[in-house]
Symmetry: C4
Subunit: 264 residues, 4 copies
């Protein structure tokens, strides 16, 4: 099904640029998704800054993080972050690895990241830490070997985001759209927690609130609404926005679901 | 009076985009106004990010938060925030619900938000907190049921802004222009209070100063000046700014009032 | 000399837009300069946001803050801030009143603003505080009456910037270009002091360093270099930048002085 | 070899604009590189804000910081920062002096700047402080005399970045691309350290991690990837971006090295 694959390549390239445009990714980091028809593969860009990734940069990789059709261009060194998570978590269909300015202070200080408002509830009740020192001692901090990726995937466990000490975060989602939502709103949540900490007290959501609000916000409606927003903002920056006549840039799959009556 | 309604739809769509363009709203939140000729109705967008709202997205709702002419598209889930406040407060003609980055640290920490400079005086002497837990226990934090909206409206009382624990804020105004002013300047005031707190001491306005400065800044002159500013900034981003020949984008009602001689 | 006046109106309008474009001014605040040939008058915009001010908005005022040729449009309410300082300080030829986000935390907390790096040395050895409560008790905080302006001018004394409690700052300069430099770099200095305070310790310049660095940075060379920078940045935002062929936008008076050999 | 020199002038002008576009440089500061064929000379702009520097602004200087072919235009006053470092460090081929908002709080507070994530590891294990007071007492803080530049170069020693108390930072690199990477990522690292400090604890990289991660990130692949990113971002702002068809703006030398198989 070449059309389905082409659509996926366009979407994953766009998600890279959207998340970068929101300040969560910079020259480094990457967004991938599982192959739309072959669960034993995933789609990832060749090595370049996420803000620049185009559909033609997206290639297929096995779950052992090997490229299916070798190319001349450089590949990302941290492919195993993605491959090992797809291997360990059949429910995960999209992964983002990043070094967001609001998340790093937690990775540096060891302060627990907590859901502090409903939109941050998508980070889940528990955000585990992973420290490369525990299993591997002094390294260059890059997660490049299969065993390093597997160790990180174990730390992630059944959660949706794992903080990597002195390095960054890795986020997972059941869909690319959900992943985009979780990645951006957990970064926003982190910034708010930092400032609340500065005011002297952090009062997070309860476990039940986290579960209920997380579930609510990840329904197709809110996720499509946020996707359209970030997509139009990207179009404005890239000069492809058609102004007040611009149509929603939400993926078709999501648009179809809008016929349901529950709303937000 | 279809023309008056059309004008109102254009204005409320523009207010959504202006407040979003100033960083107070993102993918979520909403700005509404009471129907210009029928006080038993209010105008609200279909569900989409405020930065994208166009006049044709604006529909009429009853004060029970039901759409007057049902449509296919999704509606906001938190319509009752607006409907219940319009019901409880006949003096309120515009409402904004948001999750501004500078306001949330107060909602998370429980720190009192205070007027710390004259432009923030529009938040009034008292900013009440509302906690969904008090009346409803663990929820998804979304204010979707009529009784939840009514509870929030009671917490707002006769004030102009209410902070919602672990969620955001809801702001009210006697006009759409006043609401826009209060929404943006209370967010600016909050950011300044956070940094003043970091310097070790917060010395707010007295009650008398708050009342006098609030009243001064909400006169038609300052409100129109600020509206023109945010409107031109929006035009620059949307590519509709005509450069140095651009005329003021202030609503006509406000322009007319400029003939008075008191000024700022 | 109509040409000299026209040139001054263009420059003071541009300074309003440049300082706003750097985030120091928003919907409120104002930049003025003394009349280029009549020291008993000063040039100020009609009431509108500084980012929007055009040469045709600039009018002449007496030092009693009365407009020379009355107009229909609204005037700023705080004209006396400027008039009273020009009256008290014959060496001052330009004034800016603002509410910069980095300066307000000092006005709210009472923390002393100090020169913490060479470019901030232009704030001088002493930054006095003025509190409207001292002379006038509870007010709307607006400096609108001649006696209020005179009180503020006395607090400024022979200094170059005065902090106004719970309100903002007023900055003075011997030229418009110097004023622009001091206004922007004292705001930058304030932001750095806030973060240094957060790191636990603020070590300011000595009095001698402040004096030497202030004098050095206010020579024509550095001042023209900074003016050209902010001017091109404004041109980029306003769509009037001619790209890599753009010529320096520095005022001619400054360009002429560039022939001196001392440099930076 | 006029072509090689022309290419170098284009690159060093571009590096000035790129680093400014990322918020590390403002009206002041400068980026230079050693002459590509004559190690006894270096290339530096005439005095103007880095964001505005064009290839034709770049001139040749001796290691005694004298211009080879005198010009009418003003020169930077702090040329000796560059000349004395090139003299003392034959391995250094590019230097940047700046006053980044995230770095200054360290220069003001005396807090040690440490590598807190892998991309900040390029600052090295030790970041020395230099205080102009130690050797020269009260000055205008400008490093303008040869002995001042030499003192700073001694403080830098064999490290890659030196913090200048109450002034800024000077960064060195073996290539212009490496310098650009180190300059921007050490500023990002500093911002993260400030926020981690606010959360209560800073846990830096070990010496071994710093060495390994620094080495990894300065390989041609990551350096070229970051250069392309900042270059495209500059093109977007300057209006020279050709949209989705834009080709990588990485310098040819770096592109050539991409054929190696190690990647990131």
């Amino acid at each position: 099904m070449p059309n389905k694959l082409d659509g996926a390549r366009t979407l994953v390239a766009r998600a890279n640029r959207m998340i970068a445009n929101e300040g969560v990714l910079d020259a480094f980091g990457h967004v991938t998704m599982r192959h739309p028809t072959d669960p034993g593969r995933f789609l990832m860009s060749r090595s370049r800054a996420p803000e620049l990734v185009q559909p033609e940069d997206i290639h297929e990789f096995t779950l052992d993080s090997q490229i299916v059709k070798p190319i001349e261009a450089r590949l990302y060194g941290e492919r195993v972050i993605h491959g090992e998570i797809y291997k360990a978590r059949p429910d995960v269909n999209a992964v983002c690895h990043h070094h967001a300015p609001s998340i790093l202070p937690f990775c540096i200080s060891g302060m627990e990241l907590k859901p502090v408002y409903h939109l941050g509830a998508t980070l889940g009740a528990t955000v585990p830490f992973w420290d490369s020192r525990d299993d591997f001692g002094d390294t260059n901090l890059i997660v490049a070997k299969p065993e390093e990726g597997a160790s990180l995937a174990r730390a992630l466990g059944q959660n949706w985001i794992v903080l990597m000490r002195r390095h960054g975060a890795t986020v997972a989602g059941t869909t690319l759209e959900e992943l985009t939502f979780r990645t951006i709103y957990t970064a926003r949540n982190a910034a708010m927690q930092i400032h609340a900490h500065g005011l002297g007290h952090v009062s997070p959501l309860t476990k039940a609130e986290t579960s209920l609000a997380g579930e609510y916000n990840l329904r197709p409606g809110p996720v499509a609404r946020a996707w359209e927003y970030w997509s139009v903002r990207l179009d404005k920056v890239e000069g492809t926005w058609r102004g007040q006549k611009a149509k929603a840039a939400a993926p078709k799959k999501l648009k179809a679901k809008r016929k349901t009556k529950r709303r937000r």
